[in-house]
Subunit: 479 residues, 2 copies
């Protein structure tokens, strides 16, 4: 996939990286929608690909050519000889004096990235050569990536083209370390073995690291810069990562902003703050990077900027070179996203007096209870500070009286113990009463391949529970 990030654009073609966790039905839908001509398939995913092709054949759709990618541990059950094309063989017959097919315009598309599925229907986000180039440079800069970095790929390349870092790492003459499986053991082993200087990961990946068994951890002998993003990181996770020895930075963006759009530029004077305050500062989404023209927090009705008081909530909006060209074959959604000349992120945030923004919630994750807006992120932050909680997600549950009430889904740490009543009391001591969850459900979290919790699944579950019947009715739902 890394090599193809160069080969495909240099052949004048367009990249469309698919999530490796999709099922055959979704793969067939995206192959059809993207009108892909060639499908490069890792041997581990060959079955899904073939199933997807069968579905396309049934629908009478033209089939893409398949090129198989093998690996040293490739199973012998695959009959490679029966495949029309095998990647390494194609590379072998290639030649160095190949003519690069350059884009006619720098605005020509370089890739289509389907959104990851926290929303229901994936949309094809179109990146241009110009935007990808600028976002690569900006990401390298905000990552403080000097020459010859060693980059560990925890963030999948199918997620915003790996935040544009295939190109950024190459621009800095870097080394790429790829993992088949993201696990604390693999991460620590590779950091030590390859002297990794930079890596990235969603807050859930960091959570996995800070809660990993001590036997997997290895002392860090050199500086490892970790960029986190994808969802608001709980301050507790940031401070625990720093205790282990990682140098943590925080960025924020969406597939539509080529991945990183803002970053929490760290001010030297914050070094003096007590650890808790430092982590709070670091959990803010910050300021736009140098590749982006403008970012603002606006009232979507009036398009007025909110007051920079750390309290007034508005929608985060972007414009600039590193905002997508549009949604592929979806003019309606494109127009909707760009109404009034700004890209509407769907994220709610405040602007602080120093200009740094702080995301409070996804627009559709806000819980409206008794006319009050409750930020699910704020409630989750309190839940993460409970010693027994490993993962937390708060969504709205319908309520006949209040409209909605907060419903918390929790996964406890191995060997930890806590009941719903305790958790609710813990929240009430730290939050206004109306913000504390009324329902607590203990379960495994449904997640996207990039480690984001799929709140829409939890929302459906909370909805199915029906109206909150009393102040604490959660015990019966605990598994």
């Amino acid at each position: 996939m890394y090599e193809l990030h160069f080969a495909v654009p240099m052949a004048g073609a367009i990249l469309c990286t698919l999530n490796s966790r999709l099922d055959a039905a979704m793969v067939s839908v995206l192959l059809e929608h993207s009108q892909a001509k060639i499908l490069f398939v890792d041997y581990q995913l060959l079955e899904i690909a073939q199933e997807a092709l069968n579905l396309l054949r049934e629908r009478g759709t033209e089939l893409p050519i398949i090129v198989l990618l093998t690996d040293s541990d490739c199973s012998s059950t695959i009959d490679i000889t029966s495949m029309s094309y095998e990647y390494e063989k194609l590379v072998d017959v290639g030649h160095n004096d190949f003519n690069i097919v350059r884009p006619q315009s720098e605005w020509d598309p370089i890739s289509v990235n389907y959104t990851s599925g926290t929303t229901s229907r994936p949309k094809g986000v179109v990146y241009s050569h110009r935007g990808a180039y600028l976002n690569s440079l900006a990401t390298v800069l905000l990552f403080q990536m000097d020459l010859f970095p060693v980059y560990l790929w925890n963030v999948p390349l199918f997620h915003c083209n790996g935040w544009c870092l295939p190109w950024g790492v190459a621009a800095q003459f870097g080394t790429n370390i790829c993992l088949r499986k993201v696990s604390p053991e693999n991460i620590f082993d590779n950091i030590i073995q390859h002297k990794v200087t930079h890596m990235a990961g969603a807050p859930t990946v960091l959570n996995m690291i800070v809660n990993s068994a001590l036997i997997y951890r290895k002392p860090l002998k050199h500086k490892v810069v970790v960029m986190t993003g994808g969802s608001p990181p709980p301050p507790q996770i940031l401070s625990k990562m720093e205790e282990i020895g990682f140098s943590i930075s925080h960025l924020y963006g969406l597939t539509e902003t080529y991945g990183p759009g803002t970053f929490c530029a760290w001010r030297p004077e914050w070094d003096m703050l007590p650890p808790q305050e430092r982590s709070k500062m670091k959990s803010r989404q910050g300021v736009p990077h140098v590749g982006l023209e403008e970012i603002d927090v606006k009232d979507p009705a009036t398009m007025e900027s909110v007051v920079a008081d750390g309290k007034s909530v508005g929608e985060v909006m972007f414009r600039g070179n590193t905002v997508m060209s549009g949604y592929y074959r979806d003019l309606k959604a494109t127009k909707e996203a760009f109404r009034d000349g700004w890209f509407h992120s769907g994220d709610l945030a405040v602007k602080h007096c120093d200009g740094y923004i702080e995301v409070k919630d996804r627009l559709k994750d806000v819980i409206v209870s008794g006319g009050e807006n409750i930020s699910s992120v704020e409630v989750e932050t309190v839940l993460y500070s409970h010693p027994a909680v490993l993962e937390a997600a708060v969504v709205a549950r319908p309520d006949d009286h209040w409209g909605e009430t907060p419903c918390a889904f929790l996964k406890l740490k191995d060997g930890s113990d806590a009941n719903a009543e305790e958790i609710i009391t813990f929240c009430r001591e730290r939050l206004p009463h109306y913000m504390a969850p009324k329902t607590i459900i203990f379960q495994e979290m449904p997640k996207t391949s990039t480690g984001k919790i799929q709140k829409y699944i939890l929302r459906e579950k909370a909805k199915a529970l029906g109206s909150t019947s009393g102040p604490i009715d959660c015990e019966k739902y605990c598994s």
Copy 2:
């Protein structure tokens, strides 16, 4: 000047920074050619400016408005009250809700930089907003400038807009340390006082540092990255800078390439080389930075690339976003510079097998002796390795028999002693006979304000000597 690098473009105007060492006659020529509307003048240069305005008045040219810049040590002999405009007062009456006048196109000019005068007639090099933006980012990257750098301004802001670093330092939230006088004492004092992280300077500035009296030097307690460029740095100077403790990098470019165009990206494996080999590697001009599209070494007659063998000489040529838009009001010179679609640098170089280029000489500095090309840079490198030599410049002297012979101008170190015969013997032991200088002249070097030796003055002097009459006739010219 730093503030004006933001204020002028934000007012929709175009910057034109003039060299502070120009005389009134040249200032009047450039004011007329540039059609400047407002002239910001530092109090130290007020007399020259007023004299230049008198010259314009005599020629019946429209006069620019003068705005005086004062300083804390501003002499009381200047009657500030008589000035129409004073910078600080103008700033005082400014307001924060000023509307930025954005460029209509990103290709609109942001500045005109007159070439520094190693050539006879200055040409006005036009930079675009787009090029300046990209070169700022590229320069920050090749400078390995992390967030919050402290930058010491040895390179004047009137030289390629300070290599685009006014904008680059701001993009990285940096601190700027400005000097009224570049001297070893000032440089070391400021490094210690302000914890300077980055500075730059022509090889002559580095030469001044490595040859400075020990009482001015202070031990460096933190990493100071130094970028050098402007002329090929003798390897000896690079290794001495590293002995003092500076972390040295080498870049190459011209006013026409917004300053930095290539840099000698340092490969980790070169750390193992012996010091002399390291410095030789570091003195190569290297590879293009990420803001530039392409660089090549070509035969200007056929436009064929030279073989990458470290021997075949061609002209360095550039194309890309960070190459000038053209020469202001000089279509003929613009067409000449861009013939065959590439910017012709006028520099001769070889390409090594690893793709790194090495500049051998300015096209017009090559000495042709008995049909052999002699690189003045190669002869100078040998001269710099002589323990008594402080500065060296080699030019062609006419010769009835050989066509031309190498003529060396030398300045010796304080307290050092060497005669011409010794120097020539020293060169003959290290170079083919025909490359060793036949003439040695001891004198002060004529220099541009950016510290470049003005070879055209030396060439005229060598020409005036007439034909070389014998193998060693230099003694009589020694001062």
